[in-house]
């Protein structure tokens, strides 16, 4: 029931997620995060949602990964390779992670989701467009406003007040 592509994708996704958090260099961490996000896009393709997959790729890999890389490269070189963490907190975190995985995993396996399979045809991406423009159109407008506000906010935050672009100093 589980085919090879799915297995490979899940190994890629989860493995690179762990790598992203644990590797020393932040640059490699960002690359691993990109791999995780691409893996999720691969899952979307498996789920017959190519529109979401391509959107995921172009938004996450095309812009968010670039943003993260850009920020990481702005940081001093020592900090990129510096690992900041607390050992006790780390063990607690691993415990929490395992507990979460096991707990929710057991619940899900125990639930009726296990036998859920489908043979129905996949949803056409045109349907999503219809959704956007009919039922969810207020949400679309709100989302556009949120995006605009966040971009303006980010620009305002990251702006340097101490630099003035005057051409002639003396």
């Amino acid at each position: 029931m589980v085919d090879a592509v799915f297995l490979a994708l899940s190994v890629l996704t989860i493995g690179s997620a762990i790598v992203a958090l644990e590797i020393r260099s932040l640059i490699y961490g960002s690359i691993a995060l990109m791999l995780t996000l691409s893996g999720v896009a691969g899952f979307f393709l498996l789920l017959d949602a190519p529109f979401v997959a391509m959107f995921q790729l172009s938004v996450y890999v095309g812009s968010i990964a670039v943003l993260i890389l850009f920020t990481v490269m702005l940081v001093r070189r020592e900090l990129i390779f510096n690992k900041i963490e607390d050992k006790r907190r780390r063990y607690a975190g691993i415990g929490l992670m395992l507990a979460l995985m096991l707990g929710i995993g057991m619940i899900i396996i125990g639930s009726g989701m296990k036998s859920m399979e489908t043979n129905s045809p996949s949803v056409d991406y045109r349907k999503i467009g219809e959704d956007f423009l009919t039922y969810y159109s207020p949400a679309l407008v709100v989302m556009a406003l949120v995006l605009a506000a966040s971009v303006v906010g980010a620009l305002t935050l990251a702006r340097r007040e101490d630099i003035t672009n005057d051409q002639r100093a003396d």
């Binding site: 630099i163 002639r168 100093a169």
Partner: protein, 377 residues
């Protein structure tokens, strides 16, 4: 800050926002010199020119050679403008030794100097083009330069290092049918020059890129003692050919090109317009030149200068070019100082580049008409 450091080496404050870039001496965007540029983002915070990469001590060498032997090596700083860099030397030595120059030789010298000015300006323009990423503007002037190189080759016998001007006139007479050939090629060249307009000078991308960058005001141009096209682009009408005419320039019909803007576009446009004036001078000189006559006053074999000094200057492709020669009754000069336009314009570089974008660095730098080899001497 310790005082034990040798002069020239500085400790610098480390700031993670300021990045120091060594532009040159081996960098496609510098000549044979180094610009130590500090950038903050894309803005240049400070610029420290560091010439001297091709310093050869021409002035020192001149103290060991007699007045004739100095000719081939004194033209080396600007081989593309070799007639013009020899011109003040010849004038100075003539005054020092009291030599009269024949009338025809004066005209021939003017023609050689103007042809050489065109050669230099075209070469400069070619590099200006490639500095702005315009490869066509590298190839066209470099090709059209061939016209003038051929003319000077017919005149002097060498294609680049002419060693044509000597104290007392020129080395040899013009070849047969030179006038006709020169006129034909100058006519064609003027036609070619007009082609540059659409592709380069009137190109909206170039205009928007260079206009308003690196502005040198008129007062600053005077205060900094700039010269040549940099000065004239800032609105100062000063051309030694007009103000202090040497040889026969007072008889010839030409005008000084002056622009008011003082930005890098104006600085690059003035030499271009001066090429038209050069063509005019060449035509006029060919018309007014005596058709026959001597072109060289015979010198004594090893002439000695008196106990005197002389300062002569001409207008070269890069501005005023002066020779200060001190002699002390010997066949060799006691001291030769070459005051070159490039070195005088060097002072503009830190002044103009401060606060500019890094992308403006090539255009501002090369619009200063700066020839590193000449500045180093």
């Amino acid at each position: 800050m310790s005082t034990q450091l040798p002069p020239g080496i500085q400790l610098e404050k480390i700031d993670d926002r300021i990045m120091t870039l060594n532009v040159g001496p081996q960098h496609p965007g510098s000549g044979h010199m180094r610009l130590i540029i500090k950038v903050d983002g894309d803005y240049i915070v400070s610029c420290d020119p560091d010439p001297g990469y091709v310093h050869r001590g021409e002035e020192k060498m001149a103290e060991y050679r007699n007045y004739i032997q100095n000719i081939p090596h004194l033209e080396r700083p600007v081989i593309h403008d070799s007639s013009n860099i020899l011109y003040p030397y010849c004038l100075a030595v003539e005054e020092l030794l009291g030599i009269e120059v024949p009338e025809r030789a004066k005209y021939v010298r003017v023609i050689a100097a103007e042809l050489n000015r065109c050669i230099y300006t075209l070469y400069w323009l070619a590099i200006y083009g490639i500095f702005l990423g315009h490869s066509t503007m590298f190839m066209w002037p470099a090709g059209d330069r061939e016209l003038f190189i051929d003319l000077l080759e017919a005149m002097s016998g060498a294609r680049v290092t002419h060693a044509y001007l000597v104290p007392g006139g020129v080395r040899n007479d013009l070849p047969a049918n030179f006038e006709e050939r020169c006129l034909r090629q100058v006519d064609y060249f003027e036609k070619r020059l007009k082609e540059y307009l659409a592709v380069f000078y009137k190109n909206p991308l170039l205009i928007s890129r260079t206009e308003g960058t690196g502005i040198l005001s008129k007062t600053d141009a005077i205060r900094l003692g700039t010269t040549g096209s940099v000065l004239r682009a800032s609105g100062v009408d000063f051309d030694i050919r007009k103000k202090e005419p040497y040889d026969v320039y007072e008889n010839l019909d030409f005008e000084t090109v002056v622009m008011k803007e003082g930005d890098s576009y104006a600085r690059s446009y003035v030499p271009y317009l001066e090429m038209f004036e050069s063509c005019r001078i060449i035509r006029d000189a060919l018309r007014k030149m005596p058709k026959s006559g001597s072109v060289r006053t015979k010198l004594k074999p090893n002439p000695k200068g008196g106990n005197d000094e002389v300062y002569k200057r001409v207008e070269s492709g890069r501005g005023a070019l002066g020779y200060y020669i001190v002699s002390n009754n010997r066949p060799e000069p006691y001291r030769v100082k070459i005051s070159v336009g490039s070195f005088r314009n060097l002072i503009c570089m830190p002044y103009l580049l401060k606060g500019e974008l890094l992308g403006n660095m090539p255009s501002v730098y090369w619009s200063l008409n700066y020839w590193p080899v000449e500045a180093d001497r």
